[in-house]
């Protein structure tokens, strides 16, 4: 690619470069700096050129200053539903986009069932399997209203949510399926008492309970209109045959995905770089038809040039999945170039329901800010 590397349709030769650098990178270097070239066998130029003096000999400053960043940076929301969001971030680097993705998956707090107090379980689902399944049920509550529960704290209304599950399949009736809507919220705290092994305790001593709720959680204004329930009422927790019974209490606490994946607020969060499909030469008539039929996601379109001649154009480059079908076969690599734009990220976040996805992203930004602040306060 040292000499005569074609960009678009005109041929470029390095002998045409001016003697004094003009403040702009020549096209072949700009391509290397800002695009990942996806060739048939492997992508090249995947690393981002971060070093500020990388192009110092050309007289170009590769450093990024805050004012330039804030002028060029854009966020454009493409799709926003109740459960997922797709938006574009233009002007940042993969390092920061990856930090957001990691924080979304592992460091945003949610509420999930942690302790399960089983009073009676005669079903065929083992205790620990039942507890594991209950922990994975997503709960529809804003975790920002709660505090963390550490080992020294007592469980109270500010850090615990208590659910109760009591189902029974009567003898003679058919098998029943226990779904997640059977979990009932107990706003007043736990109803079970701790067993005291002390044989000498008399009946006047107060029985110990598991949670110490000062006031009912129903009095909190957010929960008056939205009682705390699992987000999806049709998750199968267990199945009971005749005569089997499950009676348990489940306590939900706040945690982050790093400790256990049940506390991850996203079904998943991912990003991809914007694909760019460039036709290096005019593709006409039969070749154009062939190209259009090759692409499984219909990236290409045919336009009529008049007089029966047709030409292929790139209609939907964003839909490209980089399957490389269009460059398979002889000579196709010379006609079509597949690239990715290095600073344009298409982010998709799918929420499990505790928080809406756009709130999840703003919370992730706040968490990254908190981390930076913590480092700075430690240094100073």
């Amino acid at each position: 690619m040292a000499e005569g590397a074609g960009e678009e349709k005109k041929k470029f030769s390095i002998w045409d470069l001016p003697d004094v650098p003009m403040g702009q990178l020549p096209p072949h270097l700009e391509l290397q700096r800002s695009r990942v070239s996806c060739n048939k066998d492997a992508p090249i130029h995947t690393e981002s050129i971060q070093y500020s003096g990388a192009y110092a000999s050309m007289g170009i400053d590769n450093s990024s200053r805050l004012d330039r960043f804030s002028n060029n940076f854009r966020v454009e929301v493409v799709r926003l539903n109740e459960d997922d969001i797709e938006f574009d971030m233009i002007g940042i680097d993969a390092a920061i986009a990856n930090s957001f993705r990691r924080i979304l998956i592992a460091e945003l707090p949610t509420m999930a069932i942690e302790k399960v107090l089983i009073a009676n379980n005669t079903s065929i689902i083992q205790d620990e399997v039942l507890a594991h399944r209950l922990g994975l049920v997503p709960i529809r509550v804003d975790p920002r209203l709660f505090d963390y529960l550490s080992e020294n704290d007592q469980p109270n209304e500010k850090n615990t949510i208590v659910f109760k599950l009591h189902v029974q399949c009567k003898r003679g009736s058919p098998r029943i399926t226990v779904k997640s809507d059977a979990l009932k919220w107990l706003p007043n705290g736990s109803e079970l008492v701790k067993e005291t092994r002390n044989a000498t305790s008399d009946s006047s001593s107060k029985p110990e309970i598991y949670t110490y709720f000062g006031c009912s959680q129903e009095t909190v204004p957010e929960f008056v209109k939205n009682p705390i329930i699992p987000k999806y009422p049709d998750i199968i927790i267990a199945k009971l045959g005749p005569g089997q019974e499950i009676e348990l209490e489940a306590h939900a606490v706040k945690g982050i995905g790093k400790t256990h994946a049940k506390w991850s607020p996203v079904a998943t969060a991912w990003y991809r770089m914007l694909p760019e499909v460039v036709l290096l030469e005019d593709i006409e008539d039969d070749l154009a038809e062939e190209l259009k039929s090759k692409c499984p996601v219909n990236v290409f379109d045919i336009e009529d040039l008049g007089k029966g001649r047709r030409r292929a154009t790139v209609a939907r480059p964003r839909a490209c999945t980089l399957c490389r079908e269009c460059i398979r076969g002889d000579d196709w690599e010379k006609r079509v170039a597949l690239r990715r734009v290095k600073d344009h990220f298409i982010f998709t976040i799918e929420s499990t329901g505790a928080l809406p996805p756009e709130v999840l992203f703003t919370e992730a930004v706040k968490i990254l800010e908190d981390k930076c602040e913590r480092v700075i306060t430690e240094l100073s």
């Binding site: 450093s63 805050l66 966020v75 706040k366």
Partner: protein
């Protein structure tokens, strides 16, 4: 938590506990973009231990100016809601994340 700080004023290794690639890669990228930095990299000594070492070597003479971080002391929540981000210009690139929030909120309205 710095090491190798006494002899040479222009280079240091920072050892951060309870951190991982999430913040280390972002800091490394941002530091590399600064023209006063000659070398910046990070490593994780052992994956089972949550510790990351960030090594920075500079051209010397970069004075630590605490006034740049003035915004961190303020009530950050208030700034996001009122959109009071006019005085962000002298802050570190890491502080520029606030602008992202602001722009993102703008998008939501449309």
């Amino acid at each position: 938590m710095e090491h190798g700080f006494f002899t040479d004023n222009s280079a240091a290794t920072f050892s951060l506990t309870d951190e991982d690639h999430t913040i280390a890669n972002a800091v490394r990228f941002t530091l590399n973009q600064d023209p006063r930095v000659t070398f910046c990299g990070y490593s994780i000594p052992h994956p089972s231990e949550a510790r990351v070492n960030i090594r920075v070597q500079t051209t010397g003479g970069a004075v630590f100016d605490a006034s740049q971080y003035a915004f961190f002391g303020n009530d950050v929540l208030e700034e996001v809601e009122l959109g009071g981000l006019d005085d962000e210009d002298e802050d570190l690139p890491a502080a520029g994340l606030d602008e992202e929030e602001f722009l993102f909120d703008q998008e939501e309205k449309f």
